[in-house]
């Protein structure tokens, strides 16, 4: 319903603008403003979401988690701060849902001091209410934050217990069943770092993924995503870049597991207004060029 109203209002308006431009009339800038405002407002009010389709770089992460046998060991590292959280937190939550849905074992950790509190927010808001059956120490555990940046990775690539004698709650690692057959990062099946600064995905690749020869995936803020592309697909099996990447992952998750449909998918929701606004701006550019070529043609004839 909302989609139809928005499409009629905006599409009609754009067609009218195109018509005016072809006739050679100038479009007032205020009309442009009204369009931008209306587009974003409509998309927010009607909660428009668009069929995000996962690009290969996102799909490969999804497929990797999907195809690992149940009980595989996956590390998820929270390497970000509150400023980046709106962009990358949705990725982390989507990963948690997917990994626990597939009954993998999930090891949380953080290379950022600020990551630890964000991690516990995720645990309380997503993991515990949505997966009440998941048992601490068996299905997931929280190693918490350790200072030392990539130095931490340098150590845990050979031995977890040296760096993490105990988890974030003070339990010794040996008391956790899921650590029974884990000696170092090399015993993991997949490493995922979610972050956007340093240390982040790049450090994970260079200090853990590459030397340990463990599959590595990442989620990154849009700003730093381009810097990570060159690592794909050899050193990085996949990457979620910015809100867009997060939305693609959420869409893929909902497609495969419809039970998540009514859960909050912030990235997907954020992409609605974004997509609409971008479509409208691109339409403006096209209309502007139509008007330009039209006027030039006329000028030529005169």
């Amino acid at each position: 319903m909302g989609l139809i109203i928005s499409a009629v209002v905006i599409g009609g308006g754009l067609l009218w603008m195109l018509y005016l431009s072809i006739k050679g009339q100038d479009v007032d800038r205020r009309i442009v403003y009204v369009f931008v405002g209306a587009t974003v407002a409509l998309a927010i009010i009607f909660r428009l979401e668009f069929g995000e389709v996962a690009t290969p770089i996102v799909k490969s992460v999804f497929d990797k988690i999907e195809n690992l046998p149940a009980g595989s060991k996956i590390v998820l590292s929270y390497d970000f701060d509150p400023a980046m959280a709106p962009e990358v937190n949705p990725m982390a939550n989507a990963f948690i849902r997917h990994i626990l849905e597939k009954k993998h074992r999930l090891y949380f950790m953080s290379l950022w001091a600020t990551g630890q509190s964000l991690l516990s927010v995720s645990l309380n808001d997503v993991l515990k209410p949505e997966f009440p059956d998941a048992k601490y120490g068996v299905d997931y555990c929280n190693l918490g934050y350790k200072a030392g940046n990539e130095g931490v990775l340098n150590v845990v690539i050979t031995n977890f217990r040296k760096m993490f004698p105990s988890d974030a709650n003070g339990n010794s690692l040996d008391s956790l069943p899921m650590f029974k057959d884990v000696e170092s990062l090399k015993d993991m099946d997949l490493l995922i770092s979610v972050g956007g600064g340093k240390p982040g995905v790049k450090e994970w690749i260079l200090f853990a993924g590459d030397p340990g020869k463990v599959a590595m995936a990442g989620g990154s803020a849009a700003v730093s995503a381009p810097l990570l592309y060159p690592y794909w697909p050899r050193q990085l099996i996949g990457l979620l870049g910015g809100t867009k990447g997060a939305a693609e992952y959420e869409a893929e998750l909902i497609k495969t597991y419809p039970r998540f449909k009514d859960k909050s998918m912030p990235a997907l929701r954020m992409m609605g207004p974004q997509t609409m606004a971008h479509v409208v701006i691109i339409a403006f550019i096209v209309i502007g060029n139509v008007a330009y070529f039209r006027s030039r043609k006329k000028g030529g004839q005169l």
Binding site: R30, Y33, V36, G37, V40, A41, I44, I45, A222, Y229, P230, Y231, W232, P233, R234, Q235, G242, T243, K244, M270, P273, Q274, A277, H278, I281
Partner: protein, 272 residues
């Protein structure tokens, strides 16, 4: 004349909406205290009024925008004064200048061997204020000379590393990454993001791009012939960059608008 009447009617309507909003928001407040509810109702209504006043600038300049603008500038100036006083004077300067002042402001006094040196800048600062006295106003140029001289001296050497030397030295990149002969290169050619071909192409683009960009910035040579070609490539690289950065920024700017519209529809009208 008619526009004046229209303006008055408009103002009346805006005032009415404002009042209605204030009353309804005060009625639906969460707090137990009536005063808090009325105050919060006023504050959110006022914030909405200011937001819409700013947006009205998109239509054209108008009294609402002028009001919001003047208020904003005034608040900002007052904020800046207070901030400058507490953070720079009290936070930075008092602890080094005087023990008794430090005690007065409850900031820890920093014992330093060179605390007398802090008075040199103060003298320059006082000299600057002579501007307010017409007779000896020219003295203030001494302070300006200090500022400009210091800025120039600092910039003469300090940014050479970040802006010049690092940029030049980072441009020394291998132009043949993982080269194992032409045959190997041709047989493994692919468009994968981490492939050899893309790596080599990228490094060439960076190297040639930096060179041509520099050529573009030559002032004493006409852009003709081979020089012209190089500067042309330079301007193309610049334009690709500008276009890409512009297109890339759109998303961030739309997010800002999403935030404001969510504020209007969600926090104010409660329809989300």
């Amino acid at each position: 004349m008619t526009s004046k009447i229209a303006m008055r009617i408009l103002t009346a309507i805006v005032a009415l909406i404002f009042l209605v909003s204030w009353i309804t928001r005060s009625g639906s407040g969460m707090s137990d205290s009536a005063f808090t509810n009325v105050r919060d109702g006023f504050l959110i209504t006022f914030a909405v009024f200011l937001t819409l006043s700013i947006f009205s600038f998109l239509y054209r300049d108008n009294p609402f925008y002028k009001f919001a603008e003047s208020l904003y500038v005034g608040i900002s100036a007052g904020y800046w004064m207070s901030y400058g006083f507490w953070s720079t004077i009290v936070g930075n300067f008092v602890p080094r200048a005087s023990r008794s002042l430090s005690e007065f402001f409850h900031v820890p006094y920093q014992e330093r061997a060179d605390h007398i040196l802090i008075y040199i800048p103060i003298i320059f600062g006082l000299i600057l204020l002579t501007r307010l006295l017409p007779k000896i106003g020219w003295l203030s140029r001494w302070s300006l000379a200090f500022i400009i001289g210091a800025t120039a001296g600092l910039n003469l050497t300090r940014y050479l590393r970040s802006d010049f030397i690092s940029q030049v030295s980072n441009s020394f990149i291998p132009l043949f990454v993982d080269w194992k002969g032409a045959g190997d290169f041709v047989s493994h050619i692919s468009l994968a993001a981490d492939g050899q071909f893309i790596a080599i192409l990228s490094n060439w683009v960076i190297f040639v791009g930096v060179m041509c960009g520099l050529v573009y910035f030559f002032f004493s040579k006409e852009h003709k012939g081979a020089f012209g070609v190089a500067s042309r490539i330079g301007i193309w690289i610049l334009m690709i960059t500008f276009g890409a950065s512009f297109g890339y920024t759109v998303m961030g700017r739309i997010s800002l608008l999403v935030g404001r519209i969510t504020f209007l529809f969600g926090d104010w009208l409660n329809i989300l």
